[in-house]
Symmetry: C2
Subunit: 414 residues, 2 copies
């Protein structure tokens, strides 16, 4: 590795790519709704491939719908890859996911223009799906295909909110679900993903960019508390088996536990379904979700155990029936320390001040970690917002993030 030179990223080009991509799935104002295999998604993937070709990269869509742009190296060996997902929440904003796909493209274009052919092959990627915003169980559909994490029956068993299978959605855009295994890669050395932070930590630290030390472990519980449905007026408090009272105690308890543990532990109750959900009826049941996360594998497990013991205790004391299913269970995923060090050093060479932090959100990187060294770069989010049309990162911060990415890729590939 030679000394890392100063790399120039054109802010106007960055802004133009972000805005033109946001038109595909534009959902009122700054909103974007671009779900996998939708017409908007098709347009966006075509645009991404076209911009790759214009940048002198060799573009292709793989068998699951990921779009790759390749800058061949002068030496043989595994690829260095950077990118993120092209799909969005419904509605999400202009940055979550797509920014990382564009950052990879922009970094490769800048490196090629400013330094010519690399020694090692560089690739950028727009993963086809990460958000589960059309198919609730599809999450990481693109990166799972690359890493061999798609089961044979997944295409027919993955059902959309509209009732369609992901297999039929693939066929509608000309992809054959039987060929998904062909998307698998075994020739990737390192994967670096740039993403918006989605939290307020950089903003509070007054820094533009962070290097991510690891991705949090995540578990999603769906919990049902069952009591006895009764008349809200005629049934005395002391004789009730009220699942709402039990739910309220549990929701307070799990939130308070994570709050007391302090950063980076988080726990969230985001979804509630009450049966029968009527003003004057003590409910029969309350079904709710618990999202619990910690980036330390040991503490993560301890957090889950603390929550589970508390939920059982409340249900038992209140004479309620409780049961739960674990809907998502992703282990904590530490970044590759060497890559973290490379990116931190690269940031210094570009004069970009950074901090280290854990990612509280899940990312394609945790799938890619099965086949490659991974690390991530976070760009400051205004007010820590994401998964909303209001999410925003300034072009200045984004350019700083892409400078760090490009300098890191330079160190790895030139």
């Amino acid at each position: 590795m030679t000394a890392t030179p100063r790399i120039t990223i054109d802010p106007a080009f960055v802004e133009r790519l972000i805005l033109e991509m946001a038109e595909h799935g534009s959902d009122g104002g700054t909103g974007v709704s671009r779900t996998v295999y939708s017409p908007e998604w098709v347009e966006a993937t075509r645009l991404y491939a076209r911009r790759c070709e214009e940048a002198g990269l060799k573009a292709r869509m793989d068998s699951v719908g990921n779009v790759w742009g390749k800058l061949e190296g002068s030496q043989p060996g595994k690829s260095i890859v950077s990118g993120s997902h092209i799909d969005s929440q419904t509605p999400g904003g202009r940055y979550d996911g797509i920014l990382g796909a564009l950052a990879g493209l922009i970094a490769l274009k800048a490196l090629k223009e400013q330094f010519g052919q690399p020694k090692r092959t560089l690739e950028c990627i727009a993963f086809c799906e990460e958000e589960s915003s059309r198919f609730p169980s599809a999450n990481f559909w693109g990166s799972r295909a690359i890493t061999g994490g798609t089961r044979v029956d997944d295409p027919e068993k993955t059902i959309g909110f509209g009732g369609e299978t992901i297999a039929s959605a693939m066929r509608e855009v000309g992809l054959d679900p039987a060929l998904i295994p062909e998307a698998r890669r075994a020739d990737i050395d390192s994967f670096v993903e740039l993403h918006i932070e989605q939290g307020p930590i950089l903003e509070h630290a007054n820094l533009p960019v962070a290097v991510v030390t690891g991705i949090t472990g995540i578990r999603h519980y769906e919990i049902e508390l069952r009591g006895t449905q009764n008349h809200a007026g005629a049934f005395p408090m002391d004789l009730r088996r009220d699942p709402m009272a039990g739910f309220a105690e549990i929701a307070s308890g799990v939130v308070n536990t994570a709050h007391r543990w302090g950063r980076p532990a988080v726990s969230t109750v985001g979804r509630v379904h009450v049966r029968p959900n009527a003003t004057a009826i003590i409910p029969d049941s309350v079904t709710f979700t618990l999202d619990a996360r910690h980036p330390d594998p040991v503490l993560c497990q301890k957090l889950y155990e603390t929550h589970e013991a508390f939920m059982r205790e409340v249900a038992k004391r209140r004479n309620l029936e409780i049961s739960w299913k674990i809907m998502i269970d992703h282990p904590a995923c530490p970044s590759d320390p060497g890559l973290v060090s490379t990116l931190r050093g690269a940031a210094d060479t570009q004069g970009v001040p950074t901090m280290l932090m854990a990612s509280g959100a899940g990312h394609d990187s945790q799938q890619m970690a099965k086949i490659a060294k991974v690390a991530m770069i976070f760009v400051r989010s205004k007010d820590g917002r994401s998964h909303t049309p209001d999410e925003f990162s300034s072009i200045e911060d984004i350019v700083a993030g892409i400078e760090v990415l490009a300098a890191g890729l330079y160190r790895l590939a030139y």
Copy 2:
């Protein structure tokens, strides 16, 4: 008033009337769905009128659809009336409402057969509507017409779950909404309503019948708590404005307050709506209902104030925005002490053990209290259940309740 004789109520006749009435709107097994002005309702009102005529009562339907059966007294003066509503929940069971309408009819038939013409005029009634099960804002439609509580524009402004106005529903069954004011009565002295308890207090006390000392005051709040929607992973606990955490604390608090106050205070959170209601998103808002009740007018007010102060305190401390609407606000309605005493004494003459209790549910009696002295008789409910096909009261307990009613009417009218 002469000494009250023993009155005979035929259990087989009682059971036959309950079962034949349950056929009109039969909704699977023991379920009944009989909403006001529906075809089932028309059949049920015709049956009620026919059974009145067969019992020697003069039957008529008034301008809003209430069915009256009249046993003329030998002396002039205001009427003594007993009955309840003929409509049901969707589905409700075989007893809520209709049992009181039939009890009035059965009591008058027994009194006429066993003691001939009364001195004072006796009437039974099947109110057309009480449950708001077809038109959510129609509640007490029948008794409000009788007591002058219907506003001129109510028929056109009362909209059904299916979008129809109650005016159009009336016209479909041959009633003219413009004539509702003709249903008004100013010649009722006393109104006694028999109803299932809808709670477990009689069952726990091992008693068949209660005399009701008053109907609870009821207030329904619809409360909105607003925070800031954020990513469940990337946003630290200490920076959140999480309306779910605020909701959980409030729901726990109001339930605990009512529990600590003890009987007869009750407070229930029965309905919750979360926006956007997604597992991995800290909600933007939680909207929920609070149903708070107390039969003592002063303590009722104090309960509301305690809840309101607590909700404001939680919202303020958690930096959440809070607002509420009061959807229903019925004042507490004490029974007439003289009537309560008459019914308690009447029960003693029939050898029926009773207790006094407050009604935690709303009833037509609280409307009738605007124009007459009122009191109620409760019959034991199995497991305290109501508003469900599972509600059940034994024929033995029902007969005991009708004996108390008939003996009370005897004391008032003979």
